[in-house]
Symmetry: D2
Subunit: 349 residues, 4 copies
């Protein structure tokens, strides 16, 4: 009953097998090998256009370098107040960009409210040197609290970014979970809605370590190549990432693992809805479930072997939390089994 995070799982057997399959032989280093090239081409196909792909070590690196690719002196990037980029990256985006600022924007349940965004960006629109100026907008898909931006939501955000002439970045650490939740295509969920640069995460969805920056304007690729190398994010035996993505995309493994994780979240949510001791905080849309329960009950469950964490109350959550209650987060993954979920369901029945 490991619901602590989707990064507690190891690697999907196909990913592990892919690594073993490609371990032998010799290949050009630093991302120029045949397997790397084949995977880049696969990204082109998946996104239905030419894209520039940069493997990096972590989601934090993908986010930080994506913003740095559009860096400006006095630059301000607008993100959701509870986004990973501002809450969980130890200031990496600011560090990589030499001090650009993240500006928190509110919105219900993890999604930037377009009205608030317009107000926030607009305030810095005048190119006044004292105030700083808009540099980027970044959204998380799916969000930190398991919700998903609809295609229209993304369009609304991107319209504002376009209006203010700043790029739109998508933190897709859980890209696949959102994609299958919306039942749409990668192209529709990104560049066709105005996304300029994407952190494409494979790690949480079954890889060991497979993160990529997908740049929809390949004209910027030359600069990003230097940014990545300078940031110590250029792998020598790059094919170990390529091999993971190769397996990840084969036979739509990535969509299957994401669908599975989402299904497990739905199953867990149903169990919580049926529970007497826990109640759903809001409906999960991807692979994260949030529930309210008494701390004593949570302690009991954790003592019985269930791994999960309490979570801070997000903006826009107007449900009641009693004095002896807390909000808890449960994350499912490719490795979550229905047996595990059902066992947990019985414990809270």
């Amino acid at each position: 009953m490991f619901f602590a995070s989707d990064n507690w799982a190891g690697a999907h057997p196909s990913i592990a097998a892919g690594l073993s399959a490609h371990a032998g032989g010799f290949s050009t280093a630093y991302g120029d090998g045949a397997l790397d090239q084949a995977v880049y081409q696969r990204f082109n196909e998946i996104f239905e256009r030419e894209v520039a792909v940069f493997f990096v070590a972590t989601g934090t690196a993908a986010n930080s370098l994506s913003l740095t690719a559009y860096n400006k002196p006095g630059g301000i990037s607008f993100c959701h107040r509870e986004s990973h980029v501002i809450e969980d990256e130890c200031g990496a985006p600011e560090y990589f960009s030499g001090g650009s600022r993240l500006h928190a924007v509110d919105g219900a349940l993890g999604k930037i409210d377009p009205h608030n965004l317009e107000k926030a960006v607009g305030r810095f629109a005048g190119e006044v040197v004292h105030w700083g100026r808009p540099m980027a907008v970044t959204i998380t898909q799916s969000t930190e609290v398991g919700t998903v931006y609809g295609l229209d939501d993304i369009q609304a955000i991107s319209d504002i970014a376009r209006h203010h002439k700043v790029p739109l970045h998508m933190d897709g650490a859980r890209f696949a979970n959102a994609l299958v939740a919306l039942d749409t295509t990668p192209a529709e969920m990104t560049w066709k809605r105005g996304v300029d640069i994407l952190s494409f995460g494979g790690t949480k969805n079954g890889c060991w370590c497979a993160e990529a920056i997908v740049l929809f304007d390949p004209g910027r690729a030359g600069e990003l190549a230097f940014l990545r190398k300078r940031a110590a994010q250029l792998f020598s035996k790059s094919r170990f990432i390529a091999a993971q993505f190769d397996a990840y995309f084969s036979d739509d493994l990535w969509l299957d693992t994401a669908r599975h994780a989402n299904a497990m979240a739905a199953r867990l949510a149903a169990a919580i809805e049926d529970s007497d001791t826990a109640r759903l905080a809001w409906l999960p849309q991807a692979n994260e479930v949030f529930a309210v329960m008494k701390k004593a009950e949570a302690d009991r469950l954790q003592a019985a072997g269930a791994a999960f964490y309490d979570w801070h109350k997000p903006h826009g959550f107007d449900g009641h939390i009693g004095g002896d209650e807390l909000l808890y987060r449960f994350v499912t993954s490719f490795a979550t089994t229905s047996g595990e979920v059902d066992r947990f369901g019985q414990m809270i029945a």
Copy 2:
């Protein structure tokens, strides 16, 4: 006949097997899992003392963060003029440290000359704000040109660093190759000779991606933890590094692969010594061989399937290079076979 670089090889079968063996199940993320802990303990044993270990994505990251751990405003790190840190890292050490400077010091065949080092460091010793001030000394073991610092050499460098109250960093991207060349212990080659912080590389010696910073003063570990996270170098599924190191250290695999690589280099050197068309530039001490030959001959060999690069003439090389000749580098690895070497030997006989 892949002698282009030791990072053209993939992963040793035992490393691949180790990854597969640990792919299943759930484990705490971010380096706090049981396997991570076991590997940290293994480092303690290998180095015969308590050390703090930080997995990172690349050798460039290990070097850059090692120097940044001792960062100072106006700081100057002293390195060999042809070292990787100054020649091949796109300014990453300067970038990570917010602009500290690398100061090139000369020395024959890749090794810093202590006399030159004393002169270089001494010039900045006065804590004069205009000039900057010494921050670190960094040496590469084995060096970029396949030579090895003897234990006394390291001591001589470290005496100067100590005298000027700056730490000594060792870039051990090819640590194991030097270790077996000297037939010594990790402790003797590092902290017992005054090394304060080490980039411990596993990638070139049989791993996919396994680099670690080994800090001999664990009191600094708290700060380095933040430095690493901020630098986007904290892996979530950290056990994929741990699993590689676990296999790497098992049954002294790492020493075997290094011994093999060095032996292949020696075999290749012997073949070159016997050759009519190529001659050894200097004696290899680890897993890199440098030879002089006519460019036409090299072209012929490359056309016949041998992968290797030409190299710039290092400081301290006083051999003759004819007008139609160039200097070439050959790197061997765990994956180099004697058959491959012999085949090449026949081609140049």
Copy 3:
């Protein structure tokens, strides 16, 4: 009727005379001359203890380097949401510190609310690498909206900073105005209340360009000397700053000019209170007055030669602003005359 800002005034005649008086002769550069030394000693006397003094070019430099003096990877500095450091410095504090973050804390009328501060700092207290960690607290005295922290207010803030083991910085761009408003001593308003480092501003109060960092822990002075030089803030002909401070402190000129500015603000406030067309937004405590009036009225006044700006509504202001009204800021200085104030008073009578 120049109420746009206290930096629209030039220099006080005594300051200009001081510069002329010291223009001749030769003197050691870079802050080591006799006049520099005498002024440092004067700072010791004024603050009733040994302090380390660093002249810098701008208030932004003083603030940015003060925070950088306590820099940490993942560091977060807590400031008021409407403070100069976060609103008007183009990200300089983040830039100088290589990406440390400013965290906005709310509080009424420009003053950090201790309760909010405790909550904000406490949230980052656990030294968790993902979240970042507290690095400094910074307050502005007097504040951006003309209010003043009482000595107890400062103590309450500093107690929280102490509790969390972070230093307290005071942005004293309008230090003298606050000092005379409280009728206290520099020592009482700073280190005796727990302030660790101070941006001491002379420019707004009658100098051309005279800003200093006052460090109450001289043990850190060696590092700050390098930080300042590296930040291109070390003047060669440093005595041109020293000469200004020399005149500034002579015969308590600085207290007189601050008292005058504050008195002009009080006079202006009284005129506004008597006005039919404008009303005081809140009581001024230093040299800034905020009033609400119809935009049409403000336009009329500006057309008639009064210089002042509209201002955003600060947190904690609960007065009514009508649909056709705006909030306006008026700043007085050493150069404001009572005639000017009275003339303005007649215009709004």
Copy 4:
């Protein structure tokens, strides 16, 4: 007999008078006042074209921001090995640019040798991410050792920069001294020879503190405005710089002070040539004189009240320095008197 540095002098009486003359009244802050505008226009006239002018606090700031204006990830700026930018700025250029590198190029007597420059830049020309890439060339006019690039010299340097598509920066801390030495115009010595950006120094030549960046491509001015503000180099009471430049340019004061300083250097050189105890190291071309003498003799002179420093032997100086001798630097300025020079001449006669 103050020959220690041209920054030991204070301000020329006309500069001091200019400051006093403009101290009164009110003026828009931050460089937008009428006097600022007039001075910008004066720069246009002096350079015979539209330029963008940015006042900054120090020469180090001018140099660092000039290079940062052309910043690139992995960027390398080429400077003379003994230039101020690499020898005397505590790493400020690297710090401001977030870690770009300075690469030292040799050349005789303070001037970059074009042949060496071509070799150095060419080595990084391939846009290889590992190596970094050319970002700028910077020359100093007049140089640190009192020599002057001829117009052809500048053209030769700029041809190389153009060829490699990098901008040419001129550190003009002693711009006026070089200008009058060459008897040419500011336009001829800069943009007509391919200079893209200039650190224009007034401080050493009679101002208190008057440094400006002159950008010959005003299209970049918008970015530089943010760079300057973020670097804490935007003065509020900017007219105190403007007032200095206003006086500096009036009636060609700046050319007169430079001619005087150069003449004093020539007079001093003549005295040294006539001396029995000192000999000229090389012929001065601007306002710095270098002489070889016995240390005992120098001690005697210093004890008798002459202020000057010993200097390291520059590249390309092939004169003899005996075992008991050192090289000494003497700097003259607007404030040096012929009486002072003659008195020194008598002491060494």
